[in-house]
Symmetry: C2
Subunit: 282 residues, 2 copies
Amino acid sequence: MAPKVGILAGGGPLPGYLVDACRSSGRDVFVIAFEGQADPRVVEAAPHAWVRLGAAGEALDRLRAEAVEEIVMAGPVTRPTWRELRPDRRAAKFLGRGLLNKGDDGLLGAIVRALEEEEGFRVIGADDLLDDLQATAGPFGAYGPDEDSTADIEQGVRVLHTTGPLDIGQAVIVQQGIVLGLEAAEGTRGLIERCAGLRREGRGGVLVKLPKPGQETRADMPSIGPETLRAAAASGLAGIAVATGATLVFERDEVVRLADEHGLFVVGIAPSDIVAGYASGS
Amino acid sequence: MAPKVGILAGGGPLPGYLVDACRSSGRDVFVIAFEGQADPRVVEAAPHAWVRLGAAGEALDRLRAEAVEEIVMAGPVTRPTWRELRPDRRAAKFLGRGLLNKGDDGLLGAIVRALEEEEGFRVIGADDLLDDLQATAGPFGAYGPDEDSTADIEQGVRVLHTTGPLDIGQAVIVQQGIVLGLEAAEGTRGLIERCAGLRREGRGGVLVKLPKPGQETRADMPSIGPETLRAAAASGLAGIAVATGATLVFERDEVVRLADEHGLFVVGIAPSDIVAGYASGS
């Protein structure tokens, strides 16, 4: 039987999809639900424990007591205030290394290494449990990018290839060759919403969301879902491009239905077809 | 006597400062005020003509009729709708080259070249008329950056050096090593306001605003003024860093007064001290 999985649950629906996937394949699962981050409606249907984000020692002890062997980190964790964090001794070890002053990749990569090398767990990616959620190649629904949108996608890939090493964000919105906005701390939904007011008259506008080159996708794989589509439609975008095989698509049927309803395209692309050497994953 | 100056006036206070500077040095001046862009209170105190942005032929004919020899482009021009633009034959020549699908630098650089090489004007920079508005080195007021802010400034310079060739924006906000936001189509004030909600608990947060490497500063030199300070104070930033000798500081006395009142620093830096080869201007 496959080893028991521990889910370190941040926000959003991903932890719930992982619980469902484990159950349908007969795998045992235990959820560490981070206080102030995980959604109770998502995690409380499975065996779980609520743990402060700063209580790394408690989380690790509980995972061992539950005989968890493999760990998957799932869902975004908003940067906590120091009060919420109150690091215990093991959490302080991370913080003492100044990890919170790095970007997401630096922090998450270090956590993955520590969990494997110091704590003896195997860290797996959400996509290891959720093969069928991986973005496929080409258009998902009835619409595909036209010539203008294809040019905007290519521009977006070039921008993200350049900004990737800065570890700022995963997404950019391009319209008619102009970068309307580049994601940083506001997140993809914040980016889409603020770009609604920046669109130029006329057609187009594409969200390009890709892993940063070399990104630790086990801890933080880009994802889209129905919420992304609703925001994109409300902002008047023409479509969305994601990286084939390196993006999680939640509720794909609903994503396709919304895309077709609003006349948007969603397309899986290979960034390395556009910028040679654009490699992701680790 | 110095040759007559024609001011191509977009928005903001800069055209007015230029009119004042010409008058106090006894230079004749004529203003082309772009409809929907220039502020009537700023331009109507000088000899001027209102011209549609798309009426390049009318603007050029009027400048010749007024015996203008030198041209200065002043103040931001928001991207017009096609209806506002309605390009005439000479404006269409620019558009036919696809200039509107380039970023700001590509467009402005091409306009400068066309004005000089095809139309026979000399294009000068706002700083040629406004020496005393150039940012000086070091702290402007009572406060300077502490160690944390200095590190954030350095991170901001590195980010802008990397993103500069993409021709996206001139400004970034960094706090505790994290990029909160990177300017694109929303402009500096939009950037400052949206980052207010993204700040992490605790101190710090620095706006770094620099010319892009190789930017056509004659057409589009970065600037700050009292409005920038008010927005930065309202957003809880610790301070602002600009490039010495490559940034216009409007109403410096008021900028310094606001900085001191709110405990902010404003500092002039040399980006090339932080990233070797960070050169601006053309």
